[in-house]
């Protein structure tokens, strides 16, 4: 091998290393960007917590103050009311808004014994404050018989709230929120959407790919079909979204759904996914040697039998990849879903109602008045973890199939 060739080879090789290096660096930078902002927020609670806080107002028919000792384990940043036996701290909610958080509540505290004053079925039921709640507004009469409002809504700090509590003569009512800011609802909605979209898109996409690759003769109709599908893959998501509300919405209306819904989102995503699935499946069908088709047909198998018994099994890893890509696409989509599923974060998503996926929740968080990088990044990390998990499991399945179906 001449020196020149070795150098030339070296340069070309260096180019591939460089390219992959760039790819890795970019990924690392994107990941670092996401992780630095979001990692601190990742915990299991977030996955199981609802997004919306419960809002409660409670009153205290028999209210007595007591004398409580500050427990030793409370940190310095926690203000403690000796009259009510409650420890408060300043915190930030999902919107980076200030909160007054209940960190500690003495078991004997009178604040355990409220009754609901919110109009509705729960009116009059017993309900007390609990640790983790957030005091939005607390109305009391102070020792001068003056009405005082404190709490997050009044921009009081924990310190100020405790000061007011320690000066209490009569408790009027407390408006508090339970913990919120979780992504449980969006997570569920995302999974519903993935499931439903795939159920619609995979059979159609795979069948269409089979038609194009196995049956279609090279004629004008087929060409038109092929170009149509190719063109479909170039349609921007935003157009898909608008198409969803105008073309597909009537279909869901026939099902008796009159709002945006996960079903509408899934129908729309199915259209988005079709070209991707078709292309990917076709690629993997093309790899199946033509000889196998001949062999099967010459044994008196129908084309359908050939497809199901010989071709599809060989193309299975490719189809799995298509599925994986589809899932990634669904998880990452926002523009099309904003229109078809809405932007309301539902804690108990239903197929016939609107909800947000994780990505749309990010979009909502980022396009609001005060972009929330931290929570967005946290959600992104969770998305990445989901995708990673899927990726690994699809790989494992593919590997097992490959082992069964071919030598290499």
């Amino acid at each position: 091998m001449t020196r020149k060739r070795r150098i030339y080879d070296g340069i070309l090789n260096a180019l591939t290393y460089l390219s992959s290096g760039i790819a890795v660096i970019i990924l690392v930078m994107v990941l670092q960007f996401v992780f630095v902002r979001g990692w601190s927020g990742v915990n299991f609670d977030l996955l199981s917590k609802p997004y919306w806080s419960g809002n409660n107002t409670i009153e205290f028919p028999q209210f007595k103050t007591g004398a409580f000792d500050r427990p030793d384990h409370l940190g310095d940043d926690i203000a403690f009311s000796e009259k009510l036996g409650i420890g408060l701290s300043d915190g930030l909610d999902a919107y980076k808004e200030h909160q007054v958080v209940v960190e500690y509540l003495d078991p004997e505290s009178p604040l355990h014994h409220g009754v609901v004053s919110t109009a509705g079925v729960d009116l009059g039921k017993e309900l007390g404050l609990s640790e983790g709640s957030n005091i939005v507004n607390l109305m009391l009469k102070d020792t001068d018989d003056k009405i005082v409002n404190v709490g997050a809504q009044r921009k009081s700090t924990a310190e100020e709230t405790v000061a007011a509590m320690d000066n209490i003569s009569e408790m009027r009512k407390i408006y508090f929120k339970t913990e919120g800011g979780g992504i449980n609802g969006s997570l569920k909605a995302t999974l519903y959407l993935i499931g439903l979209s795939l159920v619609i898109a995979l059979p159609i996409g795979i069948a269409a790919a089979i038609y194009l690759n196995e049956y279609a003769k090279a004629n004008r109709v087929t060409n038109a079909m092929r170009s149509s599908i190719e063109l479909l893959s170039g349609v921007p998501s935003i157009i898909f979204g608008l198409m969803g509300v105008s073309v597909l919405f009537p279909i869901t209306q026939l099902m008796g759904i009159h709002t945006v819904s996960i079903i509408l989102g899934a129908l729309t995503m199915a259209v988005v996914l079709l070209p991707l699935i078709i292309r990917q499946t076709e690629e993997s069908l093309k790899v199946v040697p033509i000889d196998l088709r001949y062999a099967s047909l010459s044994l008196g198998a129908t084309q359908t039998q050939t497809i199901f018994k010989v071709i599809l099994p060989s193309a299975l890893p490719g189809i799995l990849t298509a599925t994986l890509l589809s899932i990634s696409r669904i998880i990452g989509e926002s523009a099309a879903l904003i229109y078809t599923m809405g932007t309301f974060i539902a804690d108990r998503p239903r197929l016939d109602q609107g909800a947000t996926t994780l990505a749309v929740q990010i979009w909502s968080l980022m396009s609001g008045e005060q972009p929330n990088f931290e929570l967005s990044s946290t959600i992104s990390i969770i998305i990445l973890l989901i995708v990673l998990a899927l990726n690994v499991s699809v790989k494992l399945i593919s590997y097992r199939i490959n082992k069964k179906w071919s030598v290499s």
């Binding site: 060739r5 992959s20 994107v30 269409a208 079909m225 935003i238 157009i239 073309v247 992104s380 990445l384």
Partner: protein, 313 residues
């Protein structure tokens, strides 16, 4: 010879042929459904998008000539000229491909043919992860990181930028966003190259590197170009992230990479949700233009591909 034919039931034969017909119909139907959507979309956009240029349009027709040849897009003064946006869109998307295409193909080559198996698994996973990051996150990344690179680069070149919001930032962003698509299709294509070809080349005294570049890439051409087209589609179609760094200029075209720009999708998106009347409907006209641009560039790529195919022979 004992024939097995007596074992074959007539009924099964009929059933099997029935199924064959049924499935063929089903497959055709699936293809038809998949293809029909583009028509629905086109009909839907065209119906809305042609409207503003018809005399019957409430408030009077907008002159189509001005729309197609205009070099200003000012919703505030109701001037809608799309020509410069088309140019900007094409420049930014081609810029993105210029950056991304070689990197994607070479990365795919690295993953499939060069890297040791464990590294290549990791790299594949990386590529797939990149594909799964929501575009909003890329937009945020671009608005937070890429614009700074561009800004410092511009400062070195002696330009002042709008905080890094620029044509170059858009192209870099799009390059990152289309990278996973193009790479994974290139990987599929390269993996499909028959082993005998590789052996044939090596046996002729080609080095592995020469084999990779001359035989593997050539044989994988059609799959690689499929990825290119898909990537281009994504580059044209991306809206949310792009509008975060494009700067959305009102005049153009933009040739200076450090200047702000405007793309067709960011135009369609800007304030879409809050608007109505002509300003709303004309976005569908932009949609038609966008589809046309995508179509024409696809044809262009096919042409180039054929040329490359021929010039290699």
């Amino acid at each position: 010879m004992d024939s097995k034919h007596h074992l074959i039931s007539e009924a099964y034969q009929r059933r099997k042929k029935g199924w064959d017909k049924f499935f063929k119909g089903l497959f055709w139907l699936a293809g038809f459904i998949s293809a029909i959507f583009i028509i629905l979309i086109i009909v839907f956009i065209v119906r809305k998008g042609i409207g503003p240029f018809l005399p019957s349009y409430p408030g009077g027709a907008y002159p189509i000539g001005k729309f197609l040849t205009g070099f200003q897009w000012r919703q505030d003064s109701a001037i809608y000229g799309v020509a410069f946006i088309v140019i900007n869109t094409i420049i930014s998307a081609l810029g993105a491909l210029l950056i991304s295409f070689p990197i994607s193909v070479l990365t795919a080559l690295f993953i499939t043919k060069i890297a040791p198996r464990s590294l290549s698994r990791i790299m594949t996973t990386i590529v797939e992860l990149l594909a799964a990051i929501p575009s909003v996150v890329y937009g945020v990344f671009a608005a937070g990181v890429i614009v700074r690179w561009v800004d410092s680069l511009a400062a070195m070149a002696g330009f002042s930028t709008y905080g890094g919001n620029s044509l170059l930032a858009v192209s870099i962003l799009l390059a990152i966003m289309v990278f996973p698509t193009m790479t994974s299709l290139a990987i599929v294509a390269i993996n499909a190259v028959p082993r005998e070809l590789v052996e044939g080349s090596l046996a002729l005294g080609a080095t592995t590197t020469q084999t990779n570049f001359r035989v593997v890439l050539t044989s994988a051409k059609s799959g690689i170009f499929a990825g290119l087209i898909l990537g281009l589609g994504r580059a044209f179609g991306e809206a949310t992230a792009v509008s975060m760094v494009a700067g959305n200029s009102m005049i153009g075209p933009t040739f200076n990479p450090f200047n702000i720009t405007r793309t067709l999708t960011s135009t369609m998106l800007a304030g879409l949700k809050e608007t109505q009347g002509l300003d709303y409907d004309i976005r569908f006209s932009v949609g038609i233009i966008l589809m046309a641009v995508i179509l024409v560039t696809n044809l262009g790529i096919h042409f180039v591909k054929d040329r490359i195919g021929r010039s290699m022979s």
